[in-house]
């Protein structure tokens, strides 16, 4: 368990939010603020001014012409976007070089935070949410707790991994159990230290527990929760702690949000999400690359192999490498060639040359392969077959036809364990 005083001490050592940013919030809160007044506030901080202009001219904000001063940026982009730029500029300066505990680079972290901001703003706009100005900022800052907690996650790595392996807990639950605090709670303390608006603090604190949000901040918390989960599914900066995630049913109901709207918002934001970030010069090449896990899909039907691969993609498993084999024999050859590289096997039962049951048996007898988790996807409902497969160590049986969310519910926790193991 971490002593709260230690955490508070670390929070005090974080770079402070520029005074100009605090004053900018106060200025923008006035109903009839003029461009001149806002410009004056921003120009009082030359570093912030420079960073806003650099961001305004980056591909991520997609202006068709070059912006050379704050007044021009305000005219072309409006108060809301410039405020977003100011937060992004200030936030990027507070990010440490590495997040060893979460196995994230600064570049990945910023990319993820920015993507959640963009998507939260787009969702808010699609839902006609009030005050969509703060949704980008709430999304951008949702993981600020990790700025502090990452160090402790790194030092408790073994304990966290053991808890994740032994029970089907989310990483946030394991953070609470092992560290006595999760990154949402720490985010609230960081937010208070930075004097952030209360809705932004609420979104950072409760984005993993949207059902517990106070009613006045419910919408922004739900929106950030949905945006965060969707961004993880898209593979933007997915980290160790966030693999086993799904959108809370309560958030979807409260926002009256269907899959179609999410898909529409995501696809319309995708171009912006994939634009160049991070915003600083700490090149990601220096950082260790996130390890890709290999998944082997074994089925004699190419249609089913495609369906499984597509479902894995829809489930946010796409960043991992997916290989295919058309029968057990081919699968075994692939596995034996590079036994340490595979994190998961998804196999059918009835296949020519070597069945799924025989493949699982061979793997169980092979010292190098028996650690690889196997999930069976089959239409065979024979109870004896199922018992035999379970006895051989098969982790789960999925019945055809299956839906992507069924596959995700089973696959993601297993991959989470494999990330920890690797």
């Amino acid at each position: 368990m971490i002593d709260k005083e230690v955490l508070v001490g670390m929070i005090r050592q974080l770079p402070t939010i520029p005074q100009a940013l605090v004053e900018l919030q106060q200025a923008l809160a006035q109903p009839n603020v003029s461009i001149e007044q806002v410009e004056k506030v921003i120009r009082s901080d030359p570093a912030l001014t420079g960073n806003i202009l650099r961001l305004a001219n980056s591909a991520a904000f997609g202006l068709s012409r070059k912006v050379s001063d704050i007044s021009q940026a305000l005219t072309l982009m409006g108060f809301r976007v410039v405020n977003n730029l100011a937060y992004t500029a200030a936030f990027s300066k507070a990010i440490p070089e590495e997040f060893p505990g979460y196995r994230l680079t600064a570049a990945h972290f910023l990319r993820h935070s920015f993507a959640v901001g963009v998507l939260a703003e787009a969702l808010a706009s699609a839902l006609n949410a009030a005050s969509s100005r703060s949704h980008f900022t709430a999304g951008l800052l949702h993981d600020i707790g990790k700025l502090v907690l990452g160090t402790f996650v790194a030092t408790h790595d073994t304990q966290l991994a053991r808890r994740l392996e032994s029970e089907h807990l989310t990483f946030v639950q394991v953070e609470r159990e092992v560290l006595g605090v999760d990154h949402g709670q720490v985010a609230a303390w960081v937010g208070e230290h930075w004097q952030l608006p209360l809705d932004i603090i609420a979104a950072a604190e409760l984005h993993h527990d949207p059902d517990t949000a106070p009613v006045e901040f419910q919408q922004v918390v739900d929106i950030v929760h949905v945006a965060d989960t969707a961004v993880h599914c898209l593979g933007f900066g997915a980290d160790l702690g966030e693999l086993a995630r799904s959108i809370h049913k309560g958030s979807l109901e409260r926002l009256d949000l269907g899959a179609e709207t999410i898909e529409k918002v995501v696809s319309s934001s995708l171009e912006r999400l994939t634009q160049a970030l991070p915003t600083d010069n700490r090149e990601s090449a220096k950082m260790p690359k996130r390890q890709l896990l290999r998944i082997l899909v074994v089925d004699d039907s190419s249609i089913i192999r495609q369906m499984v691969c597509k479902s894995l993609g829809l489930s946010g498993i796409a960043p991992h490498e997916i290989l295919e084999a058309s029968d057990g024999k081919q699968a075994l050859a692939l596995l034996r060639e590079r036994p340490r590289e595979f994190a998961l096997v998804l196999a059918d039962i009835h296949m020519p040359n070597m069945s799924g049951t025989e493949l699982v048996g061979e793997m169980a007898r092979d010292e190098n392969l028996k650690r690889i988790p196997v999930i069976i996807i089959s239409s065979d409902a024979n109870v004896v077959n199922q018992q035999r497969l379970r006895a051989l160590g098969v982790r789960a049986l999925i019945k055809k036809p299956f839906r992507p969310e069924q596959l995700r519910a089973v696959v993601q926790p297993i991959l989470g364990e494999e990330v920890v193991r690797s």
């Binding site: 004699d300 249609i303 089913i304 495609q306 020519p352 239409s379 409902a381």
Partner: protein
Amino acid sequence: MNSEQLEQILTDTVASVLEEAIYALVDRNQPACEDEIPVVESLIAFSGIYTGTIALEVETSGILPLVNDFLGCDPEQALGLPQSDAIGELANIIAGRLLETWLPGEPNYDIGIPKVISTTHGQTRLANEPRVCVTRLRTDSGTRVAAAILLGVWT
């Protein structure tokens, strides 16, 4: 279980699999097709307390939209795929679910690998045979689908 009950199980199974796997709504109890139409047929052998074959026939002209819906892909993508594979897989799913419903809790059965053929003389046309149970349906996109349980060893 009499033959009417078995036919009901077969019809319900095929309808539910088509609904779940390709999101098709189906009209049941369709008349037998008098003309010989090209079909793709998938046959799966099963053995246990009963031995036989489960057959699924889909009219050839309806296969491409069916593959689109099965995979949730664009028509251009579906064109590049082995479409008969989809019929084999549907038959596989139907066979698994049918045996589970027909013989609940029965551990001693096994099912084989689907064999897919293109023909105009499908096995389901043997409807007058006493050992055959047939169901005919039509999807909401108009594709004719037939399925049969052929008891005994068929060649």
